[in-house]
Every structure is written in C-alpha cells, then in structure tokens.
Amino acid sequence: MRGILNKQLTQRIIFMLLAYAIVQLLVSTNIINAYLQATLVTICINIILAVSLNLITGFTGQFSLGHAGFMSIGAYTCALITMRVPTIAGFLAGVLMGAVMAALVGFLVGLPTLRLRGDYLAIATLGMSEIIRIVFINLDSITNGAAGLNDIPRFVNWPWLYVFVAGTILLIRNLLKSSHGRACIAIREDEIAAEAMGINTTKYKVLAFIIGAFCAGIAGALYSSYFYYIKPDLFGFLKSVDILVIVVLGGLGSISGSVLAAVLLAVVSTYFQSFPEIRMILYALILVIIMIFRPQGLLGSKEISISMFNRMGKLFAFGKGEK
C-alpha cells in the first residue's frame, strides 16, 4: 500500500514538473510568442477562477453569479499596492493582500447564503458584485472611476503563474479529499441530512465562499499585474458568467473538468478573434448547443487522474486480456 502511494506521488510530481518545463521551454524558444502568452495567462487565470468557483458552486452547491466581484477586489488591491511599491516584494504583498481582501468580502457575501438557496442566492451574489463594481466606479479618488487604473507594473511571468495555478489546484483538491471537503459535498447533496449528521452547514458554506473568494482575489491580482490596465467594467456580470460557463462546461464538481474547459474555451475564443463581428453570436450559440446536448458538462462530476493514464498505459503495454 505504501509503495503504491509513493509511486503515485512520484508520478504526480513528475507530471507537474513536466508540465512546467514544457511550457517554460516553449516560452523561452518563443514558440509561445507574446500574443500566445496572453492566451496562456488568460488560461491560467481562468483556471484559478473556475476551480475556485467550482468549490463554491460545484462542490458545496452554493449557486454564485458574483465571482468577478471577488476578482475585481484582488485586482484593484494588488494594482494599488504595486503602483506604490513597484518591486517583487510589493507584487507578492499585493497578491496576498488582494486575496485577503477578497476573502474578507467573500465572508460578507457568504453570510446571506445562510438564509438563501439556489436561484435566490445567485441573484443576491450578482447584486453584491454589481454593488462592488458601482463602488469602484464611484471611488474616483482611489480607483480613477470608470476610466480605470493604467500602467500597473508587470511582475507576472510563467514561473509565478505556475506556482499560483498549481498551488490553487493542489490545495483545493486536498481540501476536497478531506473530511472538511466531504462536509462541503454533503451540503450540496442534502443540506438537512448533512446538518443532522453533525455538519455545521453554516460554517462550511461560509468557508467555501472565503476560500473561493481568496483564490479569485489571487486571480484578479495576477490579471492586473499582467495586463497592466484594469477598469470596473471588466469585472461585470458578463465576467461572472464567463467563469460560471467554464465551470458548468467542464462539469460541476470536477476540477480537471474546469481545467480542461478553461483551456478549451481560451483556444476557441482566440480562434474567434479573427471574426470580431460574429464572435459573441457564435459564443452564445455554442453555449446553448452544449447545454442542450450535454447539460452535465464535459466530464460530469468525474475527474481525469494519473491513475487513469496508468490503466490506459497498462492496457497498451499488456495488450489484450489484462484485467
């Protein structure tokens, strides 16, 4: 048993290092050029956003339409800090502060979840993120209003991205494989039964919002640092929808599904850049068509795991008859 565990762990580490090295190689040989790099950054940020929203919506079952609001708090906090302290330490402090501020707001947003369910919660979170946006527009002296902040120092590069993406995925995955994670999942399945089985549903719902918002704050911070320009309208209702679409498309309750969908949508949307007039029409059509034909998303609630590749590998290695 212990041997297998170690083998799995080793494989996982190898896989993670490999993923890092391959992209690093592609970046340094300029196969991923400046244009593609923007797509890469978008993918990474969207992965963080989608995985963290999946924790709230897919695993804990709390319907949220306000994830962009958390993201904007991370983005503004980090931007304001790095603009004053334009060093790597300032950047890291900005990311951390952005995440903490977002988590704080996540806690506040999480409180109504104690009374609201389903669609009502979705609308409440939507309202909350709209309020955040309107406040940013009106805090002229700090945020420069609707025009937004420009010339934010750029510190984000592939190694940093990788650390944050891998960190988010790993921590959330670990959480879900623990008793605390199972408590969240139980709430999604049946809140009343979960409570009757000794789970403090209040605590875990708010916790899911705090952790989810924390990660979204990180994503926002990375966004502001890479794209060096932010304004309130970037984090409106549509952005929240975008994130939710990734989660649903990948499969509610599937982390690997969120990763897969984030990559897929970024690729498709990069391709669509060539026809700007009908880009959004196509996006809308694809959305409707996928929901009609595969409402459970690409992976449902299943995960792609390394052991799956192992099994496939064995199948090829031993040919037929191996069971």
Binding site: D119, A124, G127, E130, I134, V248, V288, M291, I292
Partner: protein
C-alpha cells in the same frame, strides 16, 4: 411637496415599465422555475420593432404597439420551444446558462444587424407630445399613456390568469407538472402560453420605453432586466400582483435616489434593497415562506 409629487409621477412611469417586464419574469419563474435572462432582450427587441414600425413603416403608435407585442409573443414561444424545452429535466444551472446564452445571442445578433449605435425614436407630435402643468408639476401625455396602458394590460392579465381555463392550467402546471398532465392538461401548450403572455408584455414595455426615453440600443435591456427581476423578487416571485407592486416600488425608489443627487449610486441602491429583502423576507413582500418539508 411639489417636487415630491413630481418624483412620484416620474417614478410611476418608470415603475410601470419595470412592472411590465417583471410580470414576464415572475410568470416564467412560477411555471418552470427558470430565471429567463433572455426576457430583458425580448423587451429590447420589442423596442426595436416599435422603432421599425414607427420610423421606417410610418405606422401610428397603437398599431406599432400591437405589432411589437405580436412579434415578441412569437419570439418568446420560439425561444422556449428551441432552447428551453429540451432542458426541462436538466439541472437548474444548465437551464440558467442556456438562458444567458439566448440572451447574449439576441443582444449580439441585434448588434450585428442594427449596429451597436444608439437609435433615436421618432419624436412625438401633436397630442402625443403634449405636457400638462399643474403648478410646478409637469405630466406628459406619454407618462399618462404608459400608466394607462400598463394598468389595462395588467387587468387583462389578471382576468386571463384568474378566470380562464388556461389560467387555471397555468397554476396547476406551476404546482405539479405530472399531476397536471394527468388531469388532461397539455403541459407544453401551457408553458408556451405563459411565455407568450410574458413576452407580449415585454414587447409593450419596449415600445413604451422607446417613446419615453427616445433612444434605444442593443444592450438597453440588461440593466432594466435585472431591476425588473429585482422587482419580481421584491414582490415575491411567482406572484403576479407582487411583480406589479415590486415594479412600482423599485421605480419610485430609483427616481428618488436620483432626485436627491445620488444618481451614480441608484443601481447600487436597487441591488442593496434586493439583498436586504432576500435576507429579511426571502419569499418577497407578498410571498409566503414555505420551508422545506422534512
């Protein structure tokens, strides 16, 4: 005092429009438990149809109103048939994403054909452009028209829902689809009918907004749509008088917030009210709170 009355009058005009849109949200939510995000775009398309009728085809106001309601009815039924019906047994979130997809589709298709530019409604002439002054209070014909048409349509709707057989079928389907089907009710037809009613009202709201504010654009539905939804929740979603009440209240509050110099925050106030209502009285002002049975 006069300023107060003036603002109430303006609030009622705006509230009428919210109420008309809110009715569509509330009916559709009542029957298939879907927040029909595309509803606000049906309202936008209603405004465009009115524009085409009045400024391109040169029709009068009433024929244009009817044309716009009719077109929106057909559009609403079509959307339900193509996009929502296949998802009737899917998860709520899948249905919601579909609704958002349809909404984006309508917005950007309109943008593709009519361009993103703002269009100006033909200005009203003669009787339609008249304003009446009582002291310092100003009322325009358009405001009266909006209020009167809204009331007529709402009364009509109440009669349909309360008195007719199809209205009873709507109530039955909203409570229990299977049981309704066992009574011999055609569930599909009933749901289509609900979409038809809601969409017709949205179409009317669209053209009324056109003549009131004069300008329309493909994204004009988004914010009023959200606020109308807030209105529906405010009154108690699924409850028709609730949507009307909610519409007027939200309209009046919004006008007051702007009137006292906080117009930048007026949307934030509406959403804050929403969250407050949801927390204090989740079933809405007129709704009964029914907890889950254990």
């Amino acid at each position: 005092m006069e300023q107060l009355i003036q603002q109430i009058i303006n609030g009622i005009s705006l509230g009428s429009i919210y109420a008309l849109i809110a009715l569509g949200y509330t009916m559709v939510y009542g029957i298939i438990k879907l927040i029909n995000f595309a509803h606000c775009d049906i309202y936008m398309i209603g405004a465009y149809i009115g524009y085409v009728c009045m400024s391109k085809l040169g029709l009068g106001f009433l024929p244009s109103l009817l044309a716009s309601m009719l077109f929106c009815t057909v559009l609403g039924i079509t959307i339900e048939r193509i996009a929502y019906r296949p998802l009737r047994n899917a998860t709520r979130i899948a249905a919601l994403i579909t609704a958002i997809g349809v909404s984006l589709f309508l917005e950007y298709t309109t943008m593709f054909f009519a361009s993103a530019n703002v269009r100006t409604y033909p200005s009203m002439t003669g009787f339609m452009a008249k304003t009446y002054k009582i002291g310092d209070i100003v009322i325009s014909t358009q405001q009266i028209l909006i209020a009167v048409i809204t009331v007529i349509l709402m009364v009509l709707l109440q009669v349909i829902v309360k008195k007719t057989k199809i209205g009873k079928a709507m109530r039955a389907v909203s409570m229990d689809k299977d049981a309704a089907e066992l009574m011999g009710i055609n569930v599909d037809t009933t749901i289509s009918f609900t979409f038809a009613l809601g969409s017709a009202l949205a179409g009317a709201a669209g053209i009324l907004v056109g003549i009131y504010y004069n300008s329309i654009n493909p994204l004009m539905g988004v914010l009023p749509g959200l606020k109308a939804f807030v209105a529906a929740v405010f009154g108690g979603i699924g409850i028709i008088p609730g949507a009307m009440l909610g519409g007027y209240v939200i309209g009046i509050i919004e006008v007051f917030v702007s009137g006292y110099g906080y117009s930048m925050y007026r949307d934030a106030v509406v959403f804050a009210i929403l969250i407050l209502i949801l927390i204090v009285r989740p079933a809405g002002l007129l709704g009964k709170n029914t907890g889950e049975k254990v």
